[in-house]
C-alpha cells in the first residue's frame, strides 16, 4: 500500500466525493418529486393521469439506468435538449430513481387503512386535504425505509454518470487508476468515500425510521 501516494491524491477524491453527494442529493429531490407525481398518478382514477404515470414507472423501471442517461445526454440534442453532463446526470438519475420511489410512495399510501379515507370524507374533506392532512402523515412513516433503500441505491447508481464524463468519485478513481497504475490504493480511497457517504445516509435513515416508526 503506497501511503505517500494516497496522501498526495486524497484531496481529489474528497472533492469528487462532494460531486457524488451533490448529484445524488439533487437527483434524490427530483426523484421524490417524480415519485409523488408517479404514485398519485398511478392511484388516480382519471385515465389521463393514471396511464402516463404507469408508462413512466414501467419504462424507467424496465430499462437500464445507463441507457436512460445515454438517451438524455447523447440523444437529447436531437430533440433540442442540450444539457451539460452534470445536468443530464441529475435528470437521468432523478427520473430513474423517481420511478422506483413512486412504487415506495404508492406502497405507503395504500397501506394506510381505507377507513381513514371514509372518515375524512365523512368529515367533509375533499381529496387533496384528505391526502395532505390525513393520509400522507400516516403513510410517510411507512415510506421512510423503502425510500431510504432507494436513496442508497441512487448513491451507488450515481457512479454511472462517470460514463457521461461527470467528474465524480468513480470517474476520479478510473482516471487515477490509469495514470498511477496503483489500482488497490485508488480503489481503497474511492471505496472509503463511498462507504462514509453510505454509512452516514444509512444511519440517518435508521434514526428517522426509529423516531417515526409505529410500534415495533
Amino acid at each position: 500500500m503506497d501511503v505517500a501516494l494516497i496522501l498526495k491524491v486524497w484531496f481529489f477524491f474528497a472533492e469528487a466525493a462532494l460531486v457524488t453527494v451533490e448529484i445524488s442529493a439533487l437527483a434524490c429531490l427530483l426523484g421524490l418529486a417524480m415519485g409523488f407525481l408517479g404514485a398519485l398518478g398511478k392511484l388516480s382514477s382519471y385515465k389521463v393521469l393514471h396511464y402516463p404515470a404507469r408508462v413512466y414507472v414501467s419504462a424507467f423501471r424496465g430499462t437500464p439506468c445507463l441507457i436512460q442517461l445515454f438517451v438524455i445526454y447523447f440523444g437529447g440534442p436531437q430533440i433540442g435538449l442540450n444539457l451539460e453532463p452534470f445536468a443530464a446526470g441529475v435528470l437521468g438519475l432523478g427520473l430513474n430513481i423517481g420511478a422506483y420511489m413512486s412504487e415506495s410512495i404508492r406502497g405507503g399510501i395504500i397501506a394506510v387503512n381505507e377507513g381513514q379515507w371514509d372518515a375524512a370524507r365523512a368529515l367533509g374533506l375533499r381529496y387533496m386535504p384528505t391526502m395532505r392532512k390525513v393520509i400522507l402523515p400516516q403513510a410517510a412513516r411507512l415510506m421512510i425505509r423503502p425510500l431510504g433503500i432507494n436513496t442508497v441505491a441512487l448513491i451507488k447508481g450515481s457512479a454511472l454518470v462517470s460514463a457521461i464524463s461527470v467528474v465524480e468519485l468513480t470517474y476520479t478513481a478510473h482516471r487515477f487508476i490509469s495514470s498511477t497504475y496503483k489500482p488497490f490504493e485508488m480503489f481503497t480511497l474511492s471505496a472509503f468515500f463511498y462507504l462514509v457517504i453510505i454509512t452516514v445516509v444509512t444511519r440517518g435513515i435508521n434514526a428517522l425510521d426509529r423516531r417515526y416508526a409505529i410500534g415495533a
Partner: protein, 218 residues
C-alpha cells in the same frame, strides 16, 4: 437534427447479437451469483469468527460501493497483481460477485429464519453438516427466497449494461456501434431500451412462473 428511425432495420442483426450476449451474461452471472451467494451465506452463518469476519467484511465492502467501481477494479486493477482478464470474463466476474453478495444477504436471512429443528433433525438422523445443508436447509431456504432472488436477477439484467463501458459485446455496446456509424444516438438507445424492456418483461414472466411452482402451499 430531428429523428429518423429508418436506419434501425439495417442494424437489427447487430442488435440481436447484442441482445443474445446480454442474455448470456445475465444467465451465466445469475447462476454463478446464486451459487456463490449460497456459499457466502453459509460461511456468514458459520460459528467460527475466522470464517464469518472476512466474509462479512467482504460483503460490507461490496454492498457499500458501486458496481461500476468494482468493475473498473477487477478489469483494470487486477492486472497489477498479474491477473489479466479479458473484458468478458472481467464483466462476468464483476456481475457475479456483486450480485452474489446481495443474494448471500437474502439467503442468509432465509436460512436464519428457518426452523432450527430442520437442521437439528437432519443431523439427528445422521446427515453430515454438508448433507444437512444441501438436502434439507438450502432447498427450503431457496424456496422462500425465490421472490427476492428474482428481484436480484431482474436488477442483474439491467445492470449488465454496465459492462459495455469496459468494451464487452452486449446490447448497449451494439447500440453504440450502430451509433458510431449512423450518428443517431437517440434512435438506437431508445431501440436498445425497448429490447431491454422486452427482455425484462420476459424475465419477469419466467420468474413469476418459477415462483408459482416453488411457492409453499400450506
Amino acid at each position: 437534427m430531428g429523428l429518423n428511425f429508418s436506419q434501425l432495420p439495417e442494424y437489427a442483426g447487430l442488435m440481436a447479437i447484442g441482445a443474445f450476449w446480454t442474455i448470456m451474461l445475465t444467465v451465466v452471472s445469475g447462476v454463478v451469483s446464486v451459487a456463490v451467494g449460497t456459499v457466502m451465506a453459509m460461511a456468514r452463518l458459520s460459528s467460527r469468527r475466522i470464517i464469518t469476519a472476512p466474509v462479512s467484511a467482504f460483503m460490507w465492502l461490496f454492498m457499500g460501493t458501486p458496481l461500476l467501481l468494482q468493475l473498473y477494479f477487477i478489469y483494470f486493477g487486477l492486472v497489477e497483481i498479474g491477473i489479466d482478464l479479458n473484458a468478458f470474463t472481467a464483466g462476468v466476474i464483476a456481475l457475479s460477485v456483486h450480485f452474489a453478495v446481495y443474494n448471500a444477504d437474502v439467503i442468509r436471512a432465509a436460512i436464519a429464519a428457518l426452523d432450527p429443528g430442520q437442521y437439528e433433525g437432519a443431523r439427528a438422523v445422521g446427515l453430515s453438516y454438508f448433507q444437512a445443508m444441501r438436502l434439507v436447509v438450502i432447498p427450503q431456504a431457496l424456496r422462500s427466497v425465490a421472490p427476492a432472488l428474482g428481484n436480484n436477477m431482474i436488477a442483474l439484467l439491467k445492470e449488465s449494461s454496465l459492462v459495455s463501458i469496459i468494451g464487452v459485446m452486449e446490447l448497449t455496446l451494439s447500440a453504440q456501434k450502430a451509433i458510431s456509424e449512423t450518428y443517431r444516438p437517440f434512435e438506437f438507445y431508445i431501440a436498445a431500451g425497448v429490447i431491454y424492456y422486452i427482455l425484462n418483461a420476459g424475465l419477469e414472466y419466467l420468474l413469476a412462473r418459477i415462483e408459482r411452482k416453488t411457492a409453499l402451499t400450506r
